[in-house]
Symmetry: C2
Amino acid sequence: MSAPDVVLGSGSGGKMVAQQLAEAGRSVVLVEDGLVGGYCPYLACVPAKSILLSAHHGLSWVAARAVRDDAAAHRDDAAAAQALRDLGIRILRGRGRVVAEPGTDAPGRIEVTFPDGGTETVEAGLLVLGPGSHAVAPPVPGLDEAPTWTSEEALAADELPGRVLVLGGGAVAVESAQALQRLGSRVTLVQRGEHLLSGEPAWVGETLAGALRADGVEVHVGTTSERVTRAADGWELHLADGTRLGTDRFLLATGRVPSTDGLGLDDRWLREKGAVRVDARCRVVAEDGEVAPEMFAVGDVTGIATYTHAANHQARTVVGEILGRGRDADYSGVPRAVYTSPPVFCVGDTSGEGTRSARFDLADVERAALLETSQGRTIVGGVELFVDDAGVLVGAAAIGEEADAWGAELSLAVRARLDLDLLTHHVRAFPTWSEAILPPLEELRGRTADQAR
Amino acid sequence: MSAPDVVLGSGSGGKMVAQQLAEAGRSVVLVEDGLVGGYCPYLACVPAKSILLSAHHGLSWVAARAVRDDAAAHRDDAAAAQALRDLGIRILRGRGRVVAEPGTDAPGRIEVTFPDGGTETVEAGLLVLGPGSHAVAPPVPGLDEAPTWTSEEALAADELPGRVLVLGGGAVAVESAQALQRLGSRVTLVQRGEHLLSGEPAWVGETLAGALRADGVEVHVGTTSERVTRAADGWELHLADGTRLGTDRFLLATGRVPSTDGLGLDDRWLREKGAVRVDARCRVVAEDGEVAPEMFAVGDVTGIATYTHAANHQARTVVGEILGRGRDADYSGVPRAVYTSPPVFCVGDTSGEGTRSARFDLADVERAALLETSQGRTIVGGVELFVDDAGVLVGAAAIGEEADAWGAELSLAVRARLDLDLLTHHVRAFPTWSEAILPPLEELRGRTADQAR
């Protein structure tokens, strides 16, 4: 009997690989030292989005927490584990370490250490790595003595602090800040970069900062955190400019690193920061292109696109490769969505380097005028489109009402490498948000035509 | 001096043509016997959507009416007319009739009859027809004696009837029914076809009927209206099965016909029901392919796709053709959106004839679960995708939360003729409504693979 497939880590990607390999009739062992299903359903996306939706809907903290805990299945993975067992998957609830990597001729060996200290070693005909990532605290002196939350801890918390200081300005930071503020905390957000969502265009982060400030969040960008000290009524963060910001608790959202420490992997498979290097088929590879025999990786540990939907795409890629209908993964159209109010939806190359771009204000479409009059509120947001020299749409950044829905057109357009010619000729419904897409397309097309003369 | 371009009718399409030709430096005469800008901004799309948004937002009738009238500029077209005059456009406020069609050698002649009975005849180097369409009453005996509203009359009304009976089951009918019911009328809707939105899949109309009924609308489908009689407290509609439905007013939404009566056009340019036949460049043509010299048509009068966004697409096509950068119009991706709650968004061929289709329930995506728990409501709706023999997406029907936004991806996919291979390989954001798109794609792809064996 040949050695089973071993999946190390049961997050969105690892779980899908295990499921689909088992459904294909293969023998699968799943090693998980946390919750079966990983962070997403219990401690990340699902409770985070639940809390945000409740906050947007005006629920109280107590109600929102109850809803969150229901959505997160009360962090009980029994049903998820049973569903996998029902497929014939053997689940080992312990921490896995690669003792021997699978070779072309011999299976690998994975040592699993259980919570009680016991161990078991399993053979691995092939190995799929999906150990995920974890938050790291920024190196601010004194922070380690103060009460901190990772986002997972925040999303499992029973209490709502009176004051929260969020360190970071990425998706986790802004979503947490808005949810906690709307649910009753007084939130301060401190970000080192010059604007929120530092990988996206500045105007997107600035628009979002405006929305957070309108909620009452105190937003500081372009700051350096010098140290944390005790204060009479809690804790204080000292900024380089002398400002002191009081808080009861810090939420650490400055970044995450792949969880490969202690995994036993040979260094040649690892990139900087411990990410596992993979090729387009999600096979583990060395920098020189050497492919690890029978080793794959999916999810945050690859450091490519740390989203549930990207992990699932990698999982499908791995399963396809293993089952002999392989196809390269394609990350070009992977959306980067932030579920704040207003939401943010970005895709592709929004750096502005080597591309031309044009922007349009959501307030200038009819839908905005209709909402402003009927609901008495001001519509903020916009969309920026990026095209390459050939006039192909290569990136888009959007923020505004329902952007996580209407942005999907842009993500598909980037993925399908559609050009200005087709995109300007497409008809969008009146009066929808999608109407904001045509004016920047026409502006870019006009400029292309000008250049061609 | 050559004869000016004459645009007959200033709806969305005609107005855009006049604007863009004037901006290109051409001499333009615009003939309009109603409001400059046509129905859309004053008496159709804009007030209709305004009323719907107000109704969805819970406004009272009085508040919603005020908001509607603001959105519709109080049906005052002075600003719109002045904006066109500022471009150098001459506006003749009267009813235009084609006395002589423009020829290859000689300009046409358009006689304009003013409200005071006076006339003026203008030459037309070329002629763009955009006279629009108007509602027709169904042939129900007695209906002509009862108080009726067209949708335009309903959208300009000051009063809210206690009871309204909507005749029809298309977009105008269902949008009116929901808005009036939510604003306080007791609405009954009577539709001859077997389901609402009879051009779309039955399940879409049935889902929508369920939503309307949940609002309190009394929905009758598959009925025959026999006659209208007076009742003690108003009027009654008698159905073929003997049912009598009481009402204070009827809203006529059974259909519209192109407004070509009295326009003076030669019969050879007209199709059944009076629509002007056009080719892909929106040039007027006869059935045998003969092209009318220098005559174009845009908007509802072409009977192709009676939407503001389609009229605008035709307007761009006409302007391109006249300015020498012509390109065929393409209606394949024109969305059919209905702004009810939940909204409907359809595109392409949803007839089910000669295609394969698969459907998915919105309740089965994570976004629905999150909303159901946080907002305590049940999510209804779904999406059905239609592919041709080559696996190309040729149609889609969606109903559900924000479908008018996330449906845009499907409309672009149909327009770009994207196939299952690419569409299944595209990554959609977790947790968005767009996630409902992958399962039916995978189902169709699986079936395609099966067939290929």
